[in-house]
């Protein structure tokens, strides 16, 4: 009898523990299953806080001038608004537009060319890029191990006196995994709480007809690589996916970005060449796509109206993902 009770208690604790984990990353039931391997990186409040500190702390860069938030702005769905190409350490300008960060648990690869296969490892790219943060994960770990603030937080989160590369990367992942955007007007309509206006409704139908193939709802990306036939830029000379696979067939294919939160993430495309959404839609109307996309002026207005319904202000203004003033008090 005692044995039965104690096993039941153990199961309850485990079940409640799991519930606790699930509650920290909330998403709607019409989203597909996340692909991130949560079982390899169990979510906890301490690790999320730690990841949030690291995300906003320029200690990741060689001279403490650049943090993740320097390009991934928390006021702009974590994109680098009004920058076609981003700048990093020593004001060096990069060769691609900073992607927005949200709904990352559903991505099978990261970066415009899909170079990174797992969210944990993405942070290595900017950390070690000589034009972005100019450092190395080895040096980041050294700097963090010299910090009383961080050794205390890592000890609390991971139970270890030594900070390692693994812990840093996993903590950063945990914070980023909390960036879920699923409360736009579109989502409220999906949940039956609101109705589209007539114009938004027409825009939605146009979207389904012309855009859903690549920008597949409800994530508004199929997370695959494609070309939309924007003219090649011979200065940037970016072959996109082919830079990773080195296969001809992947030339000039880039990752399909999500259409959520577009109001906050201009300019658009992998090189930020379009400042306004209308320019994007005009491009699509004229582009040599197969099948062609025919959009009248009114169609474009309707479609824009629908795209506006994908902006999620509760995500944009969520204070839980902003700069952690208390945790980073008095950083040098």
């Amino acid at each position: 009898m005692k044995k039965v009770i104690s096993i039941y208690c153990l199961l309850m604790v485990t079940f409640l523990g799991m519930q606790q984990q699930l509650l920290l990353i909330v998403f709607p039931n019409y989203f597909p299953e996340p692909v991130y391997s949560f079982n390899q990186n169990p979510i906890s409040n301490e690790k999320i806080s730690l990841g949030r500190m690291l995300f906003y702390d320029p200690i990741l860069s060689r001279d403490s001038s650049v943090s993740c938030a320097s390009c991934h702005s928390p006021y702009n769905a974590f994109a680098h608004v009004d920058h076609a190409l981003s700048h990093g350490i020593d004001d060096q300008i990069g060769n691609r537009n900073t992607p927005a960060l949200f709904n990352l648990a559903w991505k099978r690869s990261f970066m415009w060319d899909g170079a990174v296969k797992h969210l944990d490892m993405q942070a290595l790219a900017p950390i070690e890029h000589k034009g972005e943060m100019g450092s190395s994960i080895r040096d980041v770990v050294k700097r963090l191990n010299r910090s009383e603030r961080y050794t205390a937080h890592f000890k609390k989160a991971y139970g270890s006196n030594q900070i390692t590369g693994e812990f840093v990367l996993k903590a950063l992942s945990q914070f980023q995994l909390t960036l879920v955007s699923a409360d736009a007007k579109y989502d409220k309509v999906k949940r039956g709480e609101l109705n589209f206006s007539d114009q938004e409704g027409r825009g939605y139908q146009l979207f389904l007809q012309h855009c859903n193939r690549c920008h597949t709802e409800p994530l508004f990306t199929n997370d695959d690589f494609a070309t939309n036939r924007i003219p090649f830029d011979s200065v940037l000379n970016d072959r996109g996916r082919a830079t990773v696979t080195q296969l001809e067939k992947d030339n000039y294919l880039f990752k399909v970005p999500s259409l959520r939160n577009l109001d906050y993430t201009f300019p658009y495309m992998h090189d930020g060449r379009f400042k306004r959404l209308n320019q994007v839609l005009v491009h699509y109307t004229n582009a040599d796509l197969n099948p062609r996309i025919e959009l009248s002026d009114n169609d474009r207005k309707d479609l824009l109206s629908f795209l506006i319904a994908l902006n999620d202000t509760s995500f944009i203004f969520n204070t839980a993902n902003k700069y952690p003033h208390q945790l980073l008090k008095n950083i040098k």
């Binding site: 990186n41 797992h118 490892m121 693994e166 990367l169 996993k170 992942s173």
Partner: protein, 209 residues
């Protein structure tokens, strides 16, 4: 009296069976005709490589898989070039095989610790994947890796050994010869050159007599 003899004989037998297979196997490098346990030397600044899926086989065809699935053999520190074996009693290995490099699951995986921690300098920051084999001299840098088809650089090494084998030689002189043949002083990314270089792996390991 008989008991004392019994203990002595038992002790003797146990010692003999203890000596029939090594507790640890050490990797040594052959550089410029000399066996070295660590770098840097005059010629080699860095030598590090991953071994994985280490399997031993004995006369009876029994297989023993080493529990330590993955090891980073790092010649920067002679303590990091040994592999604990923990053979079953009287296993008596005759053959050993291991991968040089890591399989695609590990390469595409999330952050891991221990020998797989990216802070050890064996992970490509700009894209997913580990450097399988890193060799640097004053004039050359070869970071050999890559796990996606057709540029997979994972290679398996097969060695005949005896029960008294305690050291495996990584013949860097032979590696240099092969790399000279490629005429590439720098390989720093996955691709056709890295694959050609990786084909040398099965040729450069041998058991030290």
């Amino acid at each position: 009296m008989a008991l004392k003899y019994a203990f002595f004989i038992l002790f003797f037998i146990l010692n003999i069976s203890g000596k029939s297979q090594p507790d640890t196997i050490r990797f040594v490098a052959l550089i410029d005709g000399k066996f070295v346990n660590s770098v840097p030397t005059v010629d080699v600044l860095q030598l590090k490589f991953y071994i994985s899926d280490i399997v031993f086989e004995n006369e009876k065809g029994e297989l023993f898989y080493l529990k330590t699935g993955v090891r980073l053999i790092d010649f920067e520190d002679s303590l990091l070039t040994t592999v604990e074996t923990n053979f079953p009693i009287n296993f008596s290995p005759k053959r050993m095989s291991f991968n040089v490099g890591l399989d695609s699951t590990i390469n595409a995986s999330g952050a891991m610790g221990g020998d797989l921690d990216p802070m050890l300098g064996m992970y490509w920051a700009w894209q997913s994947g580990y450097i399988h084999f890193k060799l640097e001299t004053n004039t050359s840098k070869w970071h050999i890796g890559g796990y996606t088809s057709p540029y997979n650089t994972l290679q398996r090494v097969h060695l005949e050994m005896s029960a008294t084998t305690t050291e495996i030689v990584c013949n860097i002189d032979r590696m240099f010869q092969g790399l000279d043949g490629l005429n590439k002083k720098v390989i720093m990314s996955p691709g056709a050159d890295a694959v050609k270089a990786s084909l040398l792996f099965p040729q450069i390991f041998e058991v030290k007599e």
